[in-house]
């Protein structure tokens, strides 16, 4: 029994002609880390919003098919109940700061205050979440005085602290440096290993290859292909359809044409490429 099930989901935003999602079928197991890739406008964000309940509860519009998480159907639930199970962090960190709080610590506690967590438990959970994402030293800063990357970590922490069963992330590392990105992927991987189910829309294919369990490639609202990271990320279909791919894959593909790459798979990460070129 899958933890997340999308059946034939087609969705159109209000006042638009073309659907943003078309006949999407998707199953995610509990504790699985699924990455969603696709060119801009492919429907990654819409898929995230659909999982998090904002499509259609918040955006309205026309939806058909069914979205089920943890045995509950999205259209039979209300948004305020749905968000207790499904957490969402998205791209622009600045707009995810509540604006109601004066320090990072208070900002992270905001969600727990809203759902009525007792004070002592709240403090313990905020501390724990902050050490998980490594932002303890920011606790007393104003959330507005932080850099974009730091704000993104605060946004992620603010959702992690609520302990959702399904974590939906829409490009959570877009403003981070490589070190920050790696740490966030590490945290997400760890959460998945502890049983949290994760769906993450992301462009950074090298990190996806290293950390995700499965990759879904979206194009024009449809699932183009899905499978194990290396299988999907090295497929010829991706460059043909305008997806960004790893430079190591491109190099190895060229090398293969000239007979310099002898392996029967293509690399995504630097390590794989180095290994492959070394042992020819």
């Amino acid at each position: 029994m899958a933890f997340v099930t999308l059946q034939n989901v087609t969705y159109k935003y209000p006042l638009t002609k073309e659907p943003a999602l078309r006949e999407v079928n998707l199953q995610v197991k509990e504790g699985e880390f699924v990455a969603v890739i696709g060119p801009n406008g492919a429907g990654k964000s819409t898929l995230c919003y659909a999982l998090a309940g904002f499509v259609p509860h918040f955006f309205k519009g026309e939806i058909s098919g069914s979205i089920e998480v943890d045995g509950k159907k999205s259209d039979e639930s209300t948004l305020d109940e749905w968000v207790l199970n499904v957490g969402l962090a998205f791209q622009n960190p600045f707009n995810q700061i509540s604006g109601a709080k004066y320090t990072v610590f208070e900002e992270i506690a905001f969600g727990l205050e809203n759902i009525g967590v007792p004070r002592e438990e709240m403090k313990a959970r905020v501390e724990e979440a902050m050490s998980l994402t490594g932002i303890n030293d920011l606790a007393d800063r104003s959330p507005y005085s932080l850099s974009g990357g730091q704000q993104q970590r605060v946004a992620l922490t603010s959702i992690l602290v609520m302990r959702p069963k399904l974590l939906v992330l829409d490009e959570p590392t877009s403003q981070m440096d490589p070190i920050g990105t790696r740490e966030v992927f590490g945290v997400v991987r760890k959460m998945a290993e502890e049983g949290m189910t994760v769906v993450m829309a992301e462009h950074k294919v090298e990190w996806i290859a290293e950390f995700a369990d499965r990759v879904i490639a979206l194009k024009e609202g449809r699932i183009l292909m899905e499978g194990r990271p290396n299988e999907v990320l090295t497929s010829d279909l991706l460059p043909e359809n305008g997806f960004g791919i790893s430079r190591y894959t491109s190099v190895a593909r060229e090398a293969k044409k000239r007979g310099l790459w002898k392996k029967d798979f293509l690399p995504v990460t630097l390590d794989e490429a180095a290994e492959g070129f070394k042992s020819r």
Partner: protein
Amino acid sequence: MHERLSFHVKRDSFLHRLNPLTKLVMILALILVTFTFPWYWTPHLLVLVAVLPLSLLGKVFREFSFAALRLILPAAGFLFLMQAFFQPVGSDVVFKFYFLDITSESLTFAFKNAMRVFAMVSAFTLFLLTTHPSELMSDLTRRGLPGQFAYVIISTLQILPQMQAKAQTIIAAQRSRGLDTESTFFKRAGSLVPLVGPLVFGSLVEVEERAIAIEARGFTSKHAKTSLHEIPDSSFDKALRWILLALIIVSIASNLWLS
């Protein structure tokens, strides 16, 4: 980085430790007594025996006198002059300036009113100096103020400086593309359009995203909310509130009976 919009000075004092509602009632009592108690020297006396000692008790005397001298006194002084000149009462002319007379009656009247305004604004300043806005709002929310209302107040205080900063960025961006912001009045007025557009539409998009973000964090949850900070509300606070309330009633009643 732009400052947040708040006067609050973080100190540890008697006044800071009082419950926000107690302070609010205290300020309300000060203002109402100033305006309703039917004795001429009430506002003057209250400033001396209540507002000034309170500013010392709250350890914000320096900040308070700064605000009082720089902002409140000029405003009250202006009010005094206006009322002294234009209040058409009394016949005992003290000073004449073309067609404007100042009588001793209009002087006393103006002095009283200026003092009333001074007392009111300075009491409120004291409140703002010693009360953190989010503390006030979480206390009021706990007492039944709708959470949405509190959110609007607090987030406005924080987001306005951010919008200001954004407006500066847009101005800089448009100027670097040749927008005229320094010549004649009409040209400058015209150049407001390309500034306001991005600011307003950008803010609307932001509002939608922010709504999603706080909704994702259970903002509309039907659970009873809790609060991270414990807000003190001692039996002293409660007693003080009742005393102040009694004071307000006495003051209003004496106004009704004696006038």
